[in-house]
């Protein structure tokens, strides 16, 4: 469904990605793990058009999207819950979700049942329902994270990118976020998950890639990576 072929990207003169290739098959959950600064967020930004890659191809359902601006990539069915949540603080919680469905409401993607999907997000995150009239800027960090995920889901995406959905959350909320990811996986949503909690990410994922200094160092089924001694030592707090 989503395929990166030898993608390179840089910020100014600093090369961040040096030839990344990875594949996210339909209905699968693929995770990208790696230490801070390895290029995980940059990879997602390159996919969703927030950063133009210098070379390489990004295929979404077989079509090259690597030179398109974000809004046209979204139109082809890619949703991105970005690092730092990036919700719209001056819009209400519900209006944030409506913005997630912008393309469906304006006829650029098939409309479906927008009101029903808002209810579905409220079922996933009951806290958002209680606060649906509140300005999103007044939400707590955890609630904003839920909103960012819910907003991305509102596109009815073919592929969903999740960037560090657990970042900065209390342990109990991290559990809740992963429970949600499990549920989305059960719904067969195609996802690419970037996570700092490598153990939890490999627990839920089908397949994993390990990113080191802008290159794929290792890849394999999540089960295999969980047992890999190098991965355990570096990312799973293991070795003992």
């Amino acid at each position: 469904m989503l395929e990166l072929d030898n993608i390179s990207a840089s910020y100014g003169k600093v090369a961040v990605l040096q030839g990344i290739s990875l594949t996210v098959p339909e209905h699968q959950l693929v995770t990208l793990i790696g230490s801070n600064g390895a290029g995980k967020t940059t990879t997602l930004r390159a996919i969703s058009g927030m950063l133009r890659p210098q070379s390489g191809q990004i295929l979404l359902a077989g079509e090259d999207i690597s030179t398109l601006p974000s809004h046209l990539i979204a139109r082809r069915g890619l949703a991105h819950s970005p690092e730092g949540r990036r919700i719209f603080p001056n819009l209400s919680v519900k209006d944030n979700l409506i913005m997630g469905a912008f393309l469906r409401l304006t006829g650029k993607r098939s409309r479906g049942d927008v009101a029903g999907d808002i209810e579905r997000v409220f079922t996933l995150f009951p806290r958002l329902k209680e606060r649906h009239k509140q300005l999103a800027g007044t939400l707590s960090g955890g609630e904003q994270q839920m909103l960012a995920m819910g907003r991305a889901l509102m596109l009815n995406p073919r592929v969903l990118l999740l960037d560090e959905p657990s970042m900065g959350l209390a342990p109990k909320l991290v559990e809740e976020v992963f429970a949600t990811i499990h549920r989305l996986k059960a719904e067969k949503i195609t996802m690419l998950l970037v996570e700092q909690f490598a153990a939890a990410a490999l627990e839920v994922a089908d397949y994993g890639y390990v990113l080191e200094n802008g290159k794929i160092a290792l890849s394999g089924t999540a089960a295999k990576l969980r047992k890999d001694s190098a991965v355990q030592a570096a990312y799973l707090g293991g070795g003992s």
Binding site: G49, M50, S70, H71, A74, R86, F88, N90, G100, F102
Partner: protein, 307 residues
């Protein structure tokens, strides 16, 4: 007492004009962090196009039947369309490139340059003299009696107040209630994230410039009947409205209305009680005070950002 009310009323009507123009500055600043420094020229062009349109409509065979009042109302949609298009041109020629290359100041010079070009264009088409704009309402002042005070108002001044409020409320309503309006707020909050939603933010910014010039052109035909219409009519108005936008805060719709009223009323009061030579001074002192004490404006707020 009566004279005081008289002055305050005139101040309110002038202030609402400042407020509407400042509101236009705000629209583009919200989405793109840039402003059209040719806003005063957009106002003058709107008024001049309006003048030509109203004379044309009134000059037709229908004119004698519908009168100046209806001619004025028929002219307004034309002026709004003109303002909308003029704003699009400003964005496309003067601003888009500067935003794309993240230029800090390129747009300042290019919008000023476009303003000068528009002014010269207007001078060549309509001449350099101030022209008389036909008043859609009776020009004779009405007497308003509040019991404790009696003062005279020009009907057109009342129309300015209501017209200014109406256009600002219409834009606010659009922003808050429609999907496209919400997309404007989303773009203002976080342009990159709005792009992820599938919103074409380049087009949103172009649209905000169009709306900004539309409000300025509308302000032009509101103020034209009580002043002289000409290519330079917008220069001072545009500058004062900029002061209002700074006083009220570039992020607050309420701020520009209050800022406009403060400036309008202090001007008329100073002009009468102190000297008309000093009428601009208190407002500018206020501007300096605001910049020194609360640089984000009286009603401006720093954006809420939670990490």
């Amino acid at each position: 007492m009566s004279i005081l009310f008289q002055l305050i009323f005139s101040g309110i009507s002038v202030g609402m004009i400042y407020g509407v123009i400042a509101f236009g500055y705000q629209l583009t600043f919200a989405t793109s962090k840039t402003l059209n420094f040719g806003q005063g020229e957009a106002l003058a062009l709107g008024a001049l196009v309006g003048l030509t349109a109203i004379n044309f409509i009134f000059g037709t065979i229908w004119g004698t039947y519908i009168g100046v009042g209806w001619s004025y109302l028929l002219m307004i949609p034309l002026v709004l369309v003109f303002g909308f298009l003029q704003g699009t041109v400003v964005e496309r020629l003067g601003v888009r490139q500067a935003i794309t290359i993240k230029s800090e100041a390129g747009w300042i010079m290019s919008t000023i340059a476009l303003g000068i070009i528009f002014k010269n264009l207007a001078e060549n088409i309509w001449g350099r003299d101030g022209l008389k704009f036909p008043s859609p309402l009776p020009e004779a002042a009405m007497t308003v009696n509040l019991g404790f005070a009696e003062f005279r108002v020009q009907p057109m001044e009342l129309a300015i107040i209501f017209g200014a409020l109406a256009i600002m409320l219409a834009v606010e309503f659009f922003n808050r209630k429609t999907v496209f309006g919400k997309a404007v707020i989303a773009t203002a909050n976080d342009r990159e994230a709005a792009g992820l939603m599938g919103i074409n933010t380049t087009r949103v910014i172009s649209f905000s410039y169009a709306l900004s010039s539309l409000t300025a052109a509308f302000a032009g035909v509101l103020v034209a009947p009580i002043t002289l219409t000409g290519a330079t009519m917008g220069v001072v108005l545009g500058l004062k409205a900029f002061a209002v936008a700074i006083i009220g805060g570039l992020s607050s719709g309420m701020g520009v209305v209050v800022g406009g009223l403060i400036l309008g009323i202090t001007e008329t009061l100073t002009g009468y009680y102190i000297s008309s030579g000093y009428r601009d001074v208190p407002g500018l002192i206020l501007l300096l005070l605001v910049l020194a004490i609360k640089p984000s404006g009286l009603f401006g707020r720093a954006t809420i950002k939670k990490l």
